[in-house]
Symmetry: C2
Subunit: 454 residues, 2 copies
């Protein structure tokens, strides 16, 4: 579709100007005090969608507003839902940035700004993709829906309630999640699932204040209790001992294992990058990705008691651990949290305070007809064979689209591998932006041609 490509390339300057306006907005969701900027950003996204011909609405939530847009097709057409987010991470350490985080600049073919890749540049590409399609071909033959939230960087707390409340509004045949990045080799990437997660905080209380450790024989130590408790949860072979933890796990699909064999790279790259040989027994890249994608985990993200800087000889008054339990399809997060509480109680840790909340995993079938269409678009726009990940080690709301809305989700990233999302010097290549706009227009074109089983 060289006509669309030529059209898009001719508008580079205008695109950058408009995107820069979005990037200047400090729509930082993880810090307090940015509510106004978040609302202003949501309104600007709305306005851009209206300009592009997408009818859009701002929905209030208990947090930041959700931007919803709709561009209906003529007649009885299929529906594609695009999902992204306009909120961003804080800038972090300003000193490590080479330019102002909220004053975008183009340097070496890349747009540097917080949110350039994650996710303003990518959602902007979808808006402009629609506009480009419409300018060139008129009303699409596919119903396009757009769902841009403002809380993705804080775990999307309003997304599930919103989805449940607006099932009809969000009804779609497929969801394209526009986020993440392509492979470092330049191959485009499709991600077909993410794990779920249980966030768990454990707090053990001891005496009301730190005591001189001379009293250790006559006062219970919350640190030892935390160690004993944790040692009950996972054995040295990695086996998680919470009763029922592994119940219902679906395990890798044939297609999933086949896709894994297609992921390029070398095991040694990870060992070199991480400077460790301990890959938990993964002997080759296939085993590595199989574990990475299909194995549930119980990770201790943080443990703390006492004071490392002032290492006094004390019995600390308390001890805390943050766990993140990544769950795979078939596991039930709420049941895992309940089982953990019971397991602690049964083992004499009734006094330990525990907070937990969970979200389920969901993997989209790899043989979905829509996946083939997106794969074709990716191959044509990036000129390289797409890499299919049946899932990833991280977590995200696939389950909302797959299971709550019945609109199977595919993550289709436009940013390049070194976009530095969440870190300093976040960027999006201009080439990535233009290809993203083209891919977004192609989505409208090709899904408009109908979703057919192969």
């Amino acid at each position: 579709m060289s006509r669309l490509r030529t059209y898009i390339r001719s508008l580079e300057k205008e695109y950058l100007n408009e995107l820069f306006k979005l990037l200047r907005m400090k729509s930082i969701s993880p810090l307090p005090g940015y509510g106004e900027e978040l609302r202003a950003c949501a309104k600007t996204v709305c306005a851009y969608m209206e300009d592009a011909g997408i009818k859009s609405t701002l929905y209030a939530t208990s947090g930041n507003p959700i931007v919803y847009g709709e561009a209906p097709a003529d007649g009885n057409a299929p529906t594609v839902l695009i999902y992204g987010h306009y909120d961003v991470q804080p800038e972090g350490d300003r000193a490590v940035w080479q330019s102002e985080p909220f004053e975008p600049v183009v340097y070496n073919g890349k747009i540097f700004a917080r949110g350039a890749g994650d996710n303003k540049g990518q959602l902007f590409a979808h808006i402009k993709g629609y506009e480009a399609y419409k300018k060139n071909y008129g009303t699409p033959r596919v119903n396009m829906k757009y769902l841009f939230e403002g809380e993705e960087e804080t775990g999307s707390p309003s997304l599930l309630p919103f989805a449940r409340e607006h099932r009809d509004l969000l009804r779609a045949d497929i969801t394209i999640w526009s986020d993440g990045n392509i492979h470092s080799s330049g191959h485009p990437v499709l991600i077909l699932g993410l794990k779920g997660i249980c966030y768990i905080k454990l707090t053990v209380n001891g005496p009301c204040r730190d005591l001189h450790s001379g009293y250790a024989p006559v006062v219970g130590s919350p640190v030892w209790r935390l160690v004993w408790l944790l040692s009950l949860l996972k054995d040295r072979n990695g086996g998680i001992a919470i009763p029922g933890f592994y119940d219902g796990i679906e395990g890798p699909s044939e297609e999933g294992l086949r896709a894994i064999r297609g992921i390029p790279g070398a095991l040694a790259d990870y060992q070199t990058d991480w400077k460790t040989d301990d890959l938990c027994g993964a002997a080759d890249l296939e085993a590595f990705y199989t574990k990475y994608i299909y194995e549930p985990t119980l990770n201790i993200g943080c443990i703390q008691a006492g004071d490392l800087e002032n290492s006094k000889n004390i019995v600390p008054a308390g001890a805390t651990a943050y766990l993140d339990v990544r769950v795979v399809p078939g596991q039930k997060p709420d049941e895992i949290i309940r089982s953990l509480r019971s397991w602690l109680d049964e083992n004499g840790f009734e006094d330990v305070a525990m907070e937990g909340r969970g979200m389920a995993a969901s993997f989209t079938p790899l043989d979905l007809p829509g996946v083939r269409i997106i794969k074709d678009i990716a191959r044509d726009v990036w000129g390289k064979e797409p890499i299919l990940y049946p899932g990833l080690g991280g977590s995200g709301p696939f389950t909302i689209f797959n299971d709550e809305l019945g609109a199977p989700c595919v993550m289709f990233p436009y940013a390049q591998a070194d976009q530095h999302e969440h870190g300093p010097n976040e960027n999006l290549s201009v080439e990535g932006l233009l290809r993203g706009i083209e891919a977004s227009a192609e989505i409208i074109a090709r899904f408009g041609a109908g979703i057919e089983d192969e």
Copy 2:
């Protein structure tokens, strides 16, 4: 000896003026940058001793100087060694002090200043006690020796090397350690021993940087390794599993258990103060003190991995624990440290970095003739029956005096119970200072009468 008492009471104002000069000196040993102030303080202590008639010398060490003083008796007399320290803790949080930490004031009958009780006021009392005795009775009939160090607040690293190098100089029949405080009931206290201690730092390294916890299935976690390692060291009944840990323990003596029965108080006082019922199974005060004094411990003073404030979902790059192992008489700290290293190696933790250094426990026999003399002095000066502690839960260099020098050590405190040593608003009651001077003079008088077996 009412003549001495009257003399001492008449000099209150002069004593306070001189002590204030010492208290103004910032002889802070735990922080860097106070070397000059520490040396100046050591010199002032020297000068005060010379003024009192004690021949004194400054000994350089690899750290802060040691002040040694000598006042020989006529003829073949017994020898008493007084041990104390002129270094102090940092002021800590200035905001919690009600007056300047290094500008002493008297308020409500107490001298407020960092070091007032711990330990400048107490060592000053010994110097002035000597002076008072000499002014009133001439040359003592006991050889007095004074050992004042400047590193007590940092674990006395130079004391053992100095003692080994100067065995003849320090030869004595008894050591009186002037530090600590009397009982909150106003009863004077004699402490006959302290535990030893092994300081142990364990560091487990994982990947070279924190990784996204999505990688938890394929990268070894240093936090889990630390938990598994620690859970090998101590079971939930408090039993320490390091092979050989309990070898050689002498256990409580008959006299020790008898002394424990004489310690006043109530178990409930500790439970109320600490707001916990978990006293490790100590059902009554006798059991409490028996455990407190005679039970070795393995305490986790600090454990840390990840970041509590920014509880990211990461596999932390490393995990650290500080242990303090309190040992009792008969245990060999160096062997315990070696056994721990071997135990870790045997269990597959060869990679874990471990630093350790140890000091042995030592308890002085309670039936020592010198103990009876000090007990009599304490009873007469404070007007209440002294409480004997066969040992305490804390640690200190009793072993240097008892075992290296053969000059059995008795801790005989002058400060009152609420002296707030190491904390804000440290103080020494003027009454405690004057009684201390009197007790110091009595030591010279009564040990000069000879140390006889009962």
